[in-house]
């Protein structure tokens, strides 16, 4: 439709020349970013995808044997990689679920817009801004069984494994889930709070006037109307949690054994420590595929929820 370019005021001379130069100008503005991302992002990734078909190790550059999908078969058959897949899914699903519940509760507490709540929100967001590296170090220091503030009391009280929660295969992954929850619940709360603040207040007031209890309002109005926000927050956090690297690398490095091995930690170990470029690229691509899959399922849910609300 040509007249989409027409101005609202209808004052701009609308000759064909104008459209052409406008299009050219906008194209020129967008081109550098597109080219940049292709050169430094997409092309290296495509190259990585190509390398993943070879047994390519940087330490023996002359022996790059074509292995086809061999590296991908290895991702699903190698015990370490299988542990990484399972751990990454467990970490993501359990962690994000906890963050959703805690984040929703905090968002409801912060819903009323007053000075106290704005003050709390500003400070609650601090964990989000702290580098995951420092977050990992803090929790490692606190949980150490011999000297950590928390770890000492736990081991004295006979709670948890003697070597400390992070050094025991049965608890380490759960500690990482807890750390991730500590760091990212505030962000979840913030996104949900934005959703709450955009709810139609007149509907809620009408329900109150009709004698609906707080619980009824929550279950029948707030929750259904919040579904799109909830799914959007889930998309964001699931994609982030699935590519977890920093806190695992700093606290456990994937151990003990493969107890906290995640896909990105394994890829970093294979690619950046052992220089198994082919295999590491395959792990990276499998991760990207998983993320794309999870994101599409959740985005479909967003659309479904939107449609139900707007009756379209």
């Amino acid at each position: 439709m040509a007249d989409l370019t027409a101005s609202r005021t209808g004052l701009i001379p609308m000759s064909g020349d104008y459209f052409a130069s406008r299009r050219a100008f906008l194209f020129l503005l967008a081109a550098p970013a597109v080219v940049y991302v292709i050169v430094f992002g997409l092309m290296p990734l495509a190259q990585g995808a190509w390398y993943s078909l070879f047994d390519y190790n940087l330490q023996r550059p002359n022996r790059t044997a074509w292995v086809g999908l061999g590296n991908y078969v290895r991702v699903f058959s190698d015990p370490a990689a299988r542990a990484a897949i399972v751990n990454t899914f467990v970490f993501t699903i359990v962690g994000v679920t906890l963050q959703l519940i805690a984040g929703f509760a905090i968002a409801l507490l912060l819903w009323r817009d007053d000075r106290f709540n704005r003050f709390c929100l500003a400070f609650i967001l601090i964990p989000v801004t702290v580098t995951p590296l420092v977050v990992g170090l803090v929790f490692k220091a606190m949980l150490g069984a011999d000297y950590g503030i928390v770890g000492y009391f736990l081991s004295q009280g006979g709670i948890g494994p003697r070597s400390g929660l992070l050094s025991d295969a049965s608890t380490a992954l759960w500690v990482l889930v807890a750390i991730d929850t500590w760091q990212w619940t505030p962000l979840m709360a913030l996104i949900l709070l934005a959703g709450l603040k955009s709810l139609p207040m007149d509907v809620l007031e009408a329900a109150t006037a009709d004698g609906a209890t707080a619980r009824q309002r929550f279950a029948m109005i707030v929750l259904p109307l919040m579904l799109p926000s909830v799914f959007l927050a889930l998309v964001l956090r699931v994609m982030d949690a699935f590519r977890v690297f920093d806190i695992v690398y700093v606290t456990t490095g994937g151990g003990p054994g493969d107890a906290t091995q995640t896909l990105m930690v394994l890829a970093a170990k294979e690619g950046l420590s052992f220089f198994n470029i082919g295999y590491a690229s395959a792990i990276g691509n499998v991760t990207i595929l998983f993320i794309a899959l999870l994101a599409s399922v959740l985005l479909l849910a967003v659309r479904g929820a939107d449609r139900r609300i707007n009756g379209r």
């Binding site: 406008r22 503005l29 991302v37 992002g41 702290v130 503030i149 990276g284």
Partner: protein
């Protein structure tokens, strides 16, 4: 007290308790830097201690802190400037374009941001090796810019889309050039979006250690990498680490608190 006031008090107490949970771990690490080593892990934990600068002295003795901070600044500000230079015009163009391709391209930028850092790093490392930038600040700036300009483009796309084009059109009618309408009319009115974008770019790059660890030489290392190497070193105590962590966390935390309005805008706008 009425039930309503009681309810409010209860909510506020609950919020204060939640606030403590989110602040104590960081506060604890930072206070370790002001204690003497013997006090840090003393049982029971000491609440009262005489502040001491010993840990800061040893941190400065072990590390050239100012050069580490300088590296962090160069990397984060450098990539933020580049990301804005690339992302703001692109976001504007995609928001104003009527082509069907535009929205698709915007989603392409959103998808780029979701690429796992490690997956992007491995082939990028080889690229930097091949063009001879491995070991320099440039390598880190370039990869941070790749992910961050995608973020800025998406963010500015949603900002400009919410901004009515009337002002720009009025300027165009008054004989303003296309570039003038963009630069002198659209850009100034999107100032808050740009501050939010810059804030997040600086934060992402400052907090990163993976890219910096593998792409820089010793003399170009930022503070995050120093923290990681300090952690693995025998002679360095938790107190020294806490002192070093001041320089890594406080600038960003302060920035987010001072510019809280933009931080909140950015965090909610970056997703929707």
């Amino acid at each position: 007290m009425s039930a309503r006031a009681e309810n409010l008090l209860g909510r506020r107490l609950a919020l204060l308790a939640i606030l403590l949970i989110f602040l104590l771990p960081v506060a604890w690490l930072l206070t370790t830097a002001w204690k003497q080593s013997s006090q840090i892990f003393s049982i029971p934990p000491t609440l009262y201690f005489t502040p001491s600068l010993d840990q800061f002295r040893s941190a400065f003795a072990f590390f050239d802190i100012w050069s580490l901070v300088k590296s962090s600044l160069i990397i984060s500000v450098g990539s933020a400037v580049l990301s804005l230079l690339l992302g703001v015009p692109a976001g504007y163009a995609l928001a104003r374009s009527r082509s069907r391709l535009a929205v698709g391209t915007a989603y392409f930028f959103l998808a780029i941001r979701m690429i796992p850092a490690v997956a992007a790093l491995i082939p990028f490392y080889l690229l930097m090796r091949d063009i001879g930038l491995l070991g320099t600040w440039w390598a880190v700036i370039l990869i941070n810019t790749m992910l961050n300009c995608a973020f800025v483009t998406w963010m500015m796309f949603s900002y400009f889309r919410a901004l009515p084009p009337d002002m720009e059109e009025a300027a165009l009618t008054d004989g303003c050039t296309q570039f003038g309408a963009f630069w002198r009319v659209a850009v100034p009115s999107a100032r808050s979006g740009m501050i939010a974008s810059a804030l997040f770019c600086i934060m992402f790059a400052w907090n990163d250690f993976l890219f910096a660890m593998f792409l820089t030489r010793t003399d170009a290392k930022p503070i995050s990498v120093a923290l990681l190497t300090a952690y693995g070193t025998q002679d360095i105590t938790w107190g020294t680490l806490g002192a070093l962590a001041h320089f890594s966390t406080i600038p960003i935390v302060l920035m987010a608190l001072v510019l809280n309005r933009y931080f909140v805008q950015g965090a909610t706008n970056g997703v929707q």
